[in-house]
């Protein structure tokens, strides 16, 4: 389709005056900036690694596996993190819990995170129902081989020992074995113990288009 005539705007080249054609004002303007940097000197160079950066509190670095009060791994091997993981970097093998652990059915026999594959999005932390996996402020973990960067359960628990007393990496919550779902007794009830009110959100049809009847 050709461009219509009325859509075309013709622009004339601006005429250059005498001073502008001499380029002197532009040179002066440039020198002002240069001299300003010499006079008001302010360094922006980071002196890494002599000086470590001050990272924000929500920084997402290396993972750790938290321990509970009895020193056991907090993880219950529910695979929620590996389900949520967009990089598929978490590999878990579950095992029956020993009989003297009455509060859980299973625990991770192995728990391996491929730290090279991980994109540090923090979705594993968000998915965890028992606050077992958390991201710390450690960012400078390296290894000589790819295998070195596959952090297993022992390594991840070691990261917990290293970081648990760091004010930047507090163990964030103490909700319980399986998070909110298992703690219904402690939560306030959401509705009166009578028939459902008409304006009750939960009593209404679920979002349309989500559930096939």
């Amino acid at each position: 389709m050709p461009i219509k005539k009325e859509d075309v705007t013709w622009v004339e080249e601006p005429t250059i005056g005498f001073w502008e054609a001499s380029f002197l004002p532009a040179i002066v303007e440039g020198l002002k900036t240069t001299i300003g940097h010499v006079v008001n000197y302010k360094s922006v160079t980071e002196q890494y690694p002599e000086q470590k950066p001050n990272l924000p509190l929500h920084y997402r670095g290396l993972h750790r596996l938290n321990k509970d009060e009895q020193g056991r791994v907090r993880c219950v091997a529910c695979f929620m993190c590996s389900t949520a993981c967009p990089a598929n970097c978490i590999d878990i093998v579950a095992q029956d819990a020993p009989p003297d652990w009455p509060d859980r059915d299973k625990f991770p026999k192995t728990f391996v995170i491929d730290e090279l594959r991980c994109i540090y999005c923090g979705m594993c932390e968000e998915a965890c129902p028992c606050d077992a996996i958390e991201l710390t402020h450690i960012y400078d973990h390296t290894g000589f081989t790819r295998d070195d960067m596959r952090f297993d359960k022992i390594k991840l628990l070691e990261v917990f020992e290293q970081t648990k007393n760091d004010p930047k990496d507090p163990v964030r919550t103490h909700r319980g074995k399986l998070g909110v779902a298992s703690d219904f007794a402690d939560l306030p009830t959401l509705a009166p113990a009578t028939s459902v009110a008409g304006n009750d959100r939960a009593a209404q049809a679920p979002t349309s288009g989500v559930i096939k009847k």
């Binding site: 219950v76 091997a77 529910c78 695979f79 929620m80 389900t83 579950a94 095992q95 029956d96 859980r104 059915d105 299973k106 129902p129 028992c130 399986l178 998070g179 779902a181 298992s182 219904f184 007794a185 009830t189 959401l190 509705a191 009166p192 113990a193 459902v196 939960a202 009593a203 679920p206 559930i211 009847k213």
Partner: protein, 555 residues
């Protein structure tokens, strides 16, 4: 013809059909949620999940609804029955029922093996309220980790639908399970000292709509949403149960029965359910082997397949009467067809024999009475013949040769020296070869064995071709009653093993790639007794190859 109205939509039901409201609504794809009702079990109407409004349409057109909700599973439909499944009254009842069923449920979905295929999750999402008003602590009962050798019970997750109890009483007939105590103390349990170890016990895990009964074999192995399911056929016996193979990352984790009224119904036996472990056995053949004078000459398909071709050519052109193929009844129809057509094209005189068919005991019928005797009306049968495809292989052999040479005959021919070259297609994971058979095979000039597990026979062979199990190949099994069902490939074979169909396809130097659907069409057109295969895709339920009655012309 009776007309039933489900949510104002009419549905016509045949005169001889006896349906309840759930089944009538299912005809219109209207789901009535239910837990305790199962099409193969008796009706108890105890879970109350299927409460619906039911009424009657009178001849004068007026409709009289019953004032109370009634359980859909227990209400038979007749001409003029009106069922309403989506009124506010019904929805309120569903919400209340679910809240009640979940009162003492621990809500440990993150660690529950059933999560992802759980009736409570599905219905809570579709029909539930989303919260509980219970303020008191939940009534948590201790788990029972020994219901049977393969079954564990998480007592607190149970909703007392009693499907498992009715299964052991009505289908297996062994009645190991029961409900103990009453009221809120109700629990599923076994009688002291009588574990649920019957041969159908694994089915109680499948029919449990929640995560209460779990399979010890599968427990904590995988979350079910990681599994990919392939519709296939159990190779455990000639019943040919329809199954799904559940795998993740090329590892099979479990087999589950799927409903197929033409094959076995709803269930499968534990022998089949747990009998797949050989797929990941250390003894699997990883790659082909060519041995010359007792030493390994090659492990390369590109070398070995031409060598097989040349060796067979030499033998057939010099002494065609001395060449035999032994095709085991574990091979698919496609494999038998490819090998037979290849050898018969070389020479008419090559003899085709069927391999040993392993039979164990007698056909095992269920339900059984307390003394272990089956009653006259079996609901499930575990066949003595453990080969899945004897009927299919025999039909192929009959087509190419006119008759089937029994294994005993070909063995005596080998022993007498009449046959000195054998191409043997194995596949039986539990095959045993006795010493005299082995001595006979060792005396052969050329023995080619295509199998999946290393055995004394593969040791004796000059050429070993590494084949695959049922989970790693496409093909067709024809069961005892002539039902042809498709076996579908769900995982890759180990290392350099190849699907048997592909090996034989390449051996016959056919053009293109092995494709079971296309080959089935060819077989259907070639072999009249397998004409039903000409449809190519056998679908979910398979097609019957038994002689069909002539369709009655429409009047």
């Amino acid at each position: 013809m009776a007309t039933v109205y489900v949510n104002n939509e009419p549905v016509t039901i045949g005169d001889s059909e006896r349906l309840n409201c759930i089944q009538a609504a299912a005809r219109l794809n209207e789901e009535i949620p239910h837990y305790c009702w199962h099409p193969q079990l008796s009706v108890v109407a105890s879970c109350r999940m299927c409460l619906v409004e039911v009424g009657d349409k009178k001849p004068d057109g007026t409709i009289a609804m019953q004032p109370k909700l009634v359980p859909g599973c227990q209400t038979p439909v007749k001409d003029g029955t009106v069922i309403i499944t989506n009124s506010p009254k019904v929805k309120d009842a569903q919400k209340a029922t679910l809240e009640y069923l979940l009162l003492n449920h621990p809500l440990d979905c993150p660690v529950c093996d059933q999560a992802g295929e759980c009736g409570l999750q599905d219905y809570s999402y579709g029909y539930g309220r989303g919260y509980s008003r219970l303020q008191e602590p939940k009534n948590i009962k201790p788990d029972k980790d020994y219901i049977g050798d393969q079954i564990t019970l998480f007592t607190d997750r149970c909703i007392m639908c009693t499907r498992c109890v009715r299964f052991t009483r009505e289908i297996s007939g062994t009645a190991e399970m029961q409900v103990t105590s009453r009221g809120t103390h109700e629990e599923i349990d076994i009688f002291p000292g009588i574990p649920c170890n019957n041969k159908l016990a694994g089915n109680v895990v499948d029919i449990c709509p929640v995560g209460a009964l779990c399979s010890k074999d599968f427990l904590y192995q995988q979350r079910v949403w990681f599994l990919q399911n392939t519709k296939s056929v159990c190779p455990g016996c000639s019943t040919g149960c329809s199954i799904t193979v559940d795998q993740n990352k090329d590892v099979v984790h479990r087999l589950k029965p799927r409903v197929n009224p033409q094959a076995q119904g709803h269930f499968m036996c534990d022998e089949g359910r747990f009998g797949w472990k050989y797929i990941h056995s250390d003894k699997r053949l990883q790659m082909p082997e060519l041995r010359q004078k007792g030493t390994l000459a090659s492990r390369d398909w590109d070398v070995i397949l031409p060598a097989v071709r040349k060796a067979l050519d030499d033998r057939v052109s010099s002494q065609p009467h001395a060449v035999a193929a032994i095709i085991s009844p574990w091979a698919t129809v496609e494999e038998a067809y490819l090998l037979c057509s290849y050898l018969k094209k070389m020479s008419e005189h090559v003899s085709l024999a069927i391999g040993p068919t392993r039979t164990v005991g007698e056909d095992d019928h269920y339900p059984k009475d307390v003394r272990g005797n089956a009653d006259g009306n079996p609901k499930f049968t575990i066949r003595a013949e453990k080969a899945p495809n004897r009927a299919g292989v025999e039909r192929v052999l009959q087509h190419f040769q006119g008759d089937v040479v029994p294994y005993a005959d070909v063995l005596s021919a080998i022993q007498s020296g009449a046959i000195d070259t054998v191409y043997l297609v194995g596949g039986d994971p539990e095959a045993t070869w006795n010493d005299s058979d082995l001595a006979a095979f060792k005396s052969l000039k050329l023995l080619i064995v295509q199998d999946l597990l290393a055995s004394p026979l593969t040791q004796a062979a000059q050429i070993v071709l590494a084949g695959t199990s049922f989970a790693e190949k496409d093909g067709t099994f024809v069961n005892h009653s002539g039902l042809a069902q498709a076996v579908r490939r769900s995982i890759h074979g180990p290392d350099d093993a190849r699907p048997d169909g592909r090996i034989l396809w390449d051996l016959a130097e056919r053009r293109g790639l092995f494709n079971a659907n296309n080959l089935r069409k060819e077989i259907g057109q070639t072999i009249p007794s397998l004409a039903a295969l000409s449809c190519g895709d056998l679908g979910e339920f398979g097609v019957s190859t038994a002689a069909q009655p002539e369709p009655v012309a429409a009047t």
